[in-house]
């Protein structure tokens, strides 16, 4: 009986060891597989990242080109609009420049008259400066008005 128990014990130990070895090997194999998978994933990820970065760079370049193109076209459009508006304005005021200047002068004179009383409060130097300014405004209008 004792011998049987000892044999049984030996077999159990043997089986146990075998099982442990097998489990160990399985774990090791699984570990290797997982490592491989991780490795493969990393490689793919890196490749993908590289591709995306390249694509991103390309898109950035395109964006820059578009921005420049937009700015150039915007300026062209504004220029064109300005020219059209100026042309329309010139057509409207053609031959009426003097009348417009006369109107501006009258408005200016109204302002001068409205402020004229304030001259009484000015110191001599400021008084002279103010009068000089008025004189210059008059000279400007005189020069602008053309007699054909």
């Amino acid at each position: 009986m004792e011998i049987k128990i000892n044999n049984l014990k030996e077999e159990m130990t043997k089986n146990q060891n075998e099982m442990l070895n097998r489990i160990e090997e399985t774990i090791k194999t699984q570990e290797e597989i997982i490592m491989d998978m991780i490795k493969k994933f990393n490689e793919e990820f890196y490749q993908h990242k590289t591709n995306v970065l390249a694509e991103l760079e390309h898109l950035k370049n395109q964006q820059d080109v578009l921005k420049i193109s937009y700015t150039v076209n915007e300026n062209k459009l504004l220029d064109k609009i300005e020219k059209i508006v100026l042309k329309k304005v010139h057509a409207k005021i053609d031959g009426k420049q003097n009348e417009i200047l006369m109107k501006f002068w009258i408005d200016e004179l109204k302002q001068i008259i409205a402020d004229f009383d304030k001259l009484k409060q000015l110191k001599p130097k400021e008084f002279r400066l103010q009068l000089n300014e008025i004189s210059e405004i008059i000279a400007l209008f005189k020069n602008k008005m053309k007699i054909e």
């Binding site: 004179l109 109204k110 008259i113 004229f116 009383d117 008059i138 007699i147 054909e148």
Partner: protein
């Protein structure tokens, strides 16, 4: 060295086409134009006389007579020192009545102390056979107590003398009213500058009580025939209307352009006058500054209204053309 400046405001008033602009233009040395262009608003020009210690500045306000262009602006009548009331010797009744009706009231209100002369223009058109009728018309429709002088802007007879006489009368009045010793003798100094004496100038006056048609002819026929400045007459077709009024009316297409050009020219002239006003203010002694600022403000308001009249007339001419011009006729 200039001791003082004497500024004199001279108003030239009268019905349209009585010759105001012509006599002003000739007085300041411009040409005589046979073509009638109405004055829009006012035209302000200047003539200066340099005496030993004084500068006399005559600021001449030539006021347009056509009512369609010129609503009566009080600025035209304010603070006038001397006045020419111009009437047309070829149409004395209408032009004298207009002076009384339109101008005298405003003058009496706004420049009651002004020295006035009644100027009969176009003496070159007086025919001997019409002299008696003319004198009767003037006696009947003339203005009492205002000295009368006959001139011709076209031939320049008595033209500069009439201005000089009026300026001389003003300077005499200034001497009498002023306590400033430096002003004394200024009227004689003025006579010396112009090379005339008081007696010569006084001969210009027409005494309606004693004059008859014969002495009138002697008076208006000049002893010295003045050189007539080249008269401006365009080569384009004009409609002669000399028998009635002595005025030439050019074709419509020309006159509107000419009036517009004139308006702009006068606008610029008046800008000059505003500038002179401002520069004069700079030179005003401090004791008189406040008063002067008030006076200049009034004058600027007058100018502003005149500028507005000119601009509105220009815009009206663009819109209505010739019909604006013929409105008063």
């Amino acid at each position: 060295m200039i001791v003082s400046e004497i500024n004199v405001k001279l108003g030239v008033l009268g019905l349209w086409a009585s010759g105001k602009t012509s006599l002003v233009n000739l007085f300041i040395g411009n040409e005589f134009s046979e073509i009638y262009i109405p004055t829009i608003g006012s035209n302000i020009v200047r003539k200066e006389y340099q005496l030993a210690n004084h500068q006399i500045r005559i600021n001449i306000w030539d006021i347009g007579g056509q009512k369609s262009f010129n609503p009566l602006n009080p600025a035209y009548f304010s603070n006038l020192d001397i006045v020419f009331l111009v009437f047309d010797l070829s149409n004395p009744k209408e032009t004298l009545l207009e002076l009384k009706k339109t101008y005298l009231k405003s003058l009496n209100k706004l420049s009651p102390d002004s020295i006035r002369f009644l100027i009969g223009n176009k003496s070159d058109l007086i025919k001997p056979e019409d002299s008696e009728i003319l004198l009767n018309n003037i006696r009947q429709y003339g203005i009492d107590d205002i000295p009368i002088v006959f001139i011709s802007a076209k031939t320049q007879d008595n033209l500069s003398e009439a201005f000089e006489l009026l300026i001389f009368e003003f300077l005499k009045k200034l001497e009498n009213n002023s306590k400033n010793k430096q002003i004394q003798g200024i009227s004689n100094e003025f006579l010396h500058i112009i090379g005339k004496n008081e007696e010569q100038l006084n001969k210009l006056f027409i005494n309606l009580e004693i004059i008859d048609s014969k002495s009138l002819q002697q008076k208006i026929t000049p002893q010295i025939v003045k050189k007539v400045l080249k008269s401006v007459r365009k080569s384009q077709k004009v409609i002669e209307n000399k028998e009635e009024t002595g005025i030439l009316y050019p074709e419509e297409f020309f006159i509107v352009d000419k009036i517009k050009t004139d308006i702009i020219k006068l606008f610029k002239n008046n800008l000059d006058s505003v500038q002179d006003l401002i520069l004069d203010l700079k030179k005003t002694p401090i004791d008189y500054l406040i008063e002067r600022i008030d006076l200049v403000t009034d004058e600027l308001n007058g100018f502003k209204e005149d500028f507005e009249i000119k601009l509105n007339s220009l815009l009206d001419l663009d819109e209505k053309g010739m019909s604006k011009f013929t409105q008063d006729k």
